[in-house]
Symmetry: C2
Subunit: 592 residues, 2 copies
């Protein structure tokens, strides 16, 4: 093995946190693990139900993936497991294939395998940057829409009404149409659980603080609400035999180790699942990295996105072979882990141990937990993801970005998670390209008393009628090269006194082959009209490119280091004092 390959293998296999692990770290990690385990049990069951899978799959998905993530991942506090949005996407992807005769769980295992494989491969190729192409408006619209979709589907469970439509609006309409079929007892338990969980979230912490409980303990107590809800409604159901009166309960969950499973080795199924698997992987990765970076920054640490890809990839592959389904680093859970003091991925290993004990011993105790309670847990969790304030701020800041939020939101609600996400990404890229294809080109003049040039329309500046100074506020590339040609043509036609055009290239970060041809054409046409083309403030990387070209050899004008030097050479009268030199006119003050 070469030295480079050896280093690569070491990078892959050495958990970054393993050095210097001591007793104190062990204790903190252990405490965090107990708390997260308690929180994870009801969540795992609920998200398995959301994904349309047997509840035990949720427990299995919270064991092996955590171990593998701990081995490959980089974040000390990220808690991996089933999360709401990814479970929803899993349900959508496997729902499409249920008709084709593929069992739901097999499809979910295959999805986890493909998704994990893709993430791991992306990690090896260090492709973490692709997540950057999911813009925040797209993520905001997608998460809000997913939360509404999830809430609608769980509301049907809470009310005991079977309502399931092809999209959000149909689901809501079906729910409203069947309101009189609501099962009273189920609705009472479900809505009661929602009210309780909401109070725990909003009212319990201030109350505990007033009662003198420490801030951290109060916070953790509030976060433990779902566990309390599950225990309380489970006990009530058991004590009063509510399951005999039509209240649906979790029922028998198999007891034992996670089973050894395998994805379907079916190439045509792989082809059909490839796009959903990629989207699930990328969305999970983005959620995971956002959470991880936010938490790491609080401790002045950094996470490595490429290692996260490896960690999540390995975790999902592990889920595929141990009866799970697609997982990622969840927000709520990671925050709890962080607050409880987790220091290293070892906390995740201990959590996995906790869930394993639950799968081995605790499942009979879950028999009487009402399904409506699990649905209530999900509803309260996802509604906190609806971020209307972010929508409002985006509207105020940029109508184009808001359009991306709105389109992602609407398409996700109306046509499903995959269409919504793809629409959002393509729309945000198209808007970016469209904007960059219509560059802002400003005529600039000298700010008196400085060496600085600004837009003649916005600042009181000095210009010469013989020199046109243009600042192009965009890299020059094929989509906008023609816009510059047009602007210069118009200017030359309008100004008979013109002798020099100076392009201030401070905002030109690149010039591609198409734009280079445009510049040649501009120089040529200007020369025919007796005008010279000059460049100023060309950046190093751009100049390196231009140096050997015929364009620079043939250019009639000069290339100036600064725009000030250009004006010093071409129109020195502009630099002189106003009164001494009335010829150099001050340009009109701010217009637009």
């Amino acid at each position: 093995m070469s030295a480079a390959a050896g280093r690569r293998a070491a990078w892959l296999l050495r958990p970054a946190w393993s050095r210097g692990y001591g007793r104190d770290t062990l204790l903190r990690d252990g405490v965090a693990a107990v708390i997260v385990t308690l929180m994870l049990i009801p969540q795992s069951l609920a998200y398995a139900a959301l994904a349309g899978l047997p509840l035990e799959a949720g427990l299995y998905a919270s064991i092996a993936p955590l171990l593998l993530y701990a081995l490959f991942g980089s974040s000390g506090v990220l808690a991996v497991g089933p999360v709401a949005v990814v479970s929803l996407m899993t349900a959508a992807a496997i729902g499409e294939h249920a008709a084709a005769g593929v069992p739901a769980w097999t499809a979910a295992l295959t999805l986890a395998f493909l998704s994990g494989g893709m993430l791991f491969l992306m990690g090896l190729l260090r492709l973490g940057f692709v997540a950057n192409f999911l813009s925040r408006p797209v993520i905001a619209g997608f998460i809000t829409a997913s939360a509404l979709l999830i809430a609608a589907s769980q509301l049907a469970v809470v009310l005991g009404v079977p309502a399931k439509g092809p999209n959000f609006f149909v689901t809501i309409a079906a729910l409203l149409a069947r309101l009189r079929e609501v099962h009273g007892l189920t609705a009472a338990v479900g809505l009661g659980a929602i009210a309780f969980l909401w109070w725990v979230r909003r009212g319990l912490q201030p109350l505990l603080l007033r009662l003198g409980v420490g801030a951290r303990a109060a916070d953790l107590a509030a976060k433990a609400g779902p566990v309390a809800g599950v225990v309380l409604t489970g006990l009530l159901t058991w004590a009063f035999g509510l399951d005999q009166q039509g209240l649906k309960v979790v029922g028998t969950v198999p007891q034992g180790l996670p089973p050894l499973t395998a994805p379907a080795w079916d190439l045509s199924l792989w082809q059909r699942l490839a796009v959903p698997a990629l989207l699930i992987g990328v969305v999970g990765f983005v959620e995971s990295v956002s959470v991880g970076q936010t938490l790491a920054a609080r401790r002045r640490e950094r996470i490595d996105p490429d290692r996260e890809l490896l960690g999540l990839g390995a975790g999902n592959v592990a889920a595929a072979f141990t009866g799970g389904f697609p997982v990622t680093g969840g927000f709520a859970r990671s925050v709890v882990n962080f607050d409880a003091g987790a220091q290293t991925p070892a906390a995740g290993i201990f959590t996995a141990g906790g869930i394993l004990l639950a799968a081995l011993l605790l499942t009979p105790a879950l028999y009487h937990v009402p399904q409506a309670t699990l649905a209530a847990t999900i509803i309260v969790a996802v509604l906190s993801l609806v971020d209307l304030d972010s929508l409002r701020r985006t509207w105020a800041y940029s109508k184009g970005d808001f359009l991306c939020v709105l389109a992602t939101l609407a398409v996700t609600l109306g046509w499903g998670v995959e269409s919504g996400l793809i629409t959002g990404v393509l729309l945000s890229l198209a808007l970016y390209l469209l904007r960059s294809s219509r560059p802002h080109i400003a005529e600039v003049g000298l700010v008196p008393g400085t060496e600085h040039f600004r837009n003649v329309l916005r600042h009181r500046v000095r210009v010469s009628p013989r020199v046109l100074s243009l600042r192009v506020d965009e890299s020059l590339y094929f989509a906008n090269a023609r816009a510059l040609e047009d602007r210069i043509n118009d200017a030359v036609a309008a100004r008979p006194q013109l002798r020099h055009v100076v392009l201030q290239c401070s905002a030109v970060n690149a010039i591609d082959a198409s734009a280079l041809e445009s510049l040649e054409a501009i120089d040529h046409r200007l020369a025919d009209a007796g005008v010279r083309l000059h460049l100023s403030e060309v950046k190093g990387p751009v100049m390196d490119r231009l140096q050997p070209t015929a364009f620079l050899r043939r250019l009639r004008g000069q290339v100036f280091l600064t725009h000030y030097q250009a004006i010093e050479t071409l129109a020195p009268e502009v630099l002189q004092d106003d009164r001494a030199n009335p010829a150099a006119t001050a340009a009109p003050a701010a217009r637009a």
Copy 2:
């Protein structure tokens, strides 16, 4: 009708050239028309054959479209009609549907109708700018590949060997495999015609000039080569009865007015033809506008791309109803038109009259023209489109642009014109996005004796250890926002003395909502580390956006008009003389 609608109607319907049309203009237009007519007859027949249609379709496509273009178009010299690349694309599109039982000509009429309708609609919506998204490398690769495809298909005709493969390489292989089946007489005529046309193109003009013929007349004589070739080989065939010896000739071409035809009114066919129609329209538009702009610039005129869309759209719709096929403004033909002195689109009307006369009277005389001669005409015409020098220059200038040329070329040759074009466009957009997602971020310092700041790695500049000046060479948007976060995080970690980070925003042309959140995060994190974030040289349009945001209210640092003012305020020692102030260090000289 409102005043605005009235103006709009006037813009649509008033030929821009109709004012001040006099006797002199009439004469020039008339002479140009005669010359172009002569050139257009063999070309029209040849391109109809290339498109896989009856030869008379070529004549019909050169009558009504010219009239309609004259009414709506803006260029005085563009000669509209069948052209090589568009005919090739037509052949590819209708070839796919021949199997589905749609007659070739009907498919071609439908294609012209759809393509024309799309162009006209784009013109009404003033969408001319979409053509900018075809970069020059993509066009160069596509045109070169198309020329090779056309040459290969016509070589089979010249050699009298039926060789037609699914792609360029298979066609060439088939041709080589069947070399011994070459029909001697056909090959002799065809290769002879190629040699003659090549000589006319390269050798005749210098010869005439040496013989004292005027430059313009010599040039036109050289351009009339194809006509001479057709007449000569036609006479030879007639005189020696070569068509009796196996030489394939044009044969009977119906005599008469263009027929009244209609596209197929079949929605499923429209759906299948939509993508080829759009590509044919856009490629035709780009070719047309390039030629038109080049020629207009020579006369200090301008063409209006949106009017061109209307003109070409109307021309193609006209072709659909008069037995033609997709047309556009051709390069060779327009240059001849220009050289012959055409002044206005009326020259096109006269040319249409000339072709009409040919369709009415001349077709019997075409009976004996060998098909090999027409193929030779095409081969010589398209080989001048192969632009290897442009490939070489693109390679030298930019490997990314060269990759676009190469991919477009290879995919067009291997998988056909549509795949090639789509691959090229998507690849060039992807490369642009990828590049802009990895922005160049330079640390800058003061160039001594000026108020100008440049990269510390490239210039001898002055900096302060307490202030980090970063210039981001890209607009900040979702795909690159994280790169800035990473760069600043790294810098802060590496420099314990740091107190201020100033972002010089001279190259930041826009900040989207994602990047705004990143800036907020950066400010927040820097504040935690005891470092202030400042901005300088923020552009007007960007500042307008930032003004009402919470980011600017909460920003710990200031916004400076110039970067010089920022350094004056934050690190005045940098502005002082070196010897008086050894603390301000000069940064290392150029490294990279």
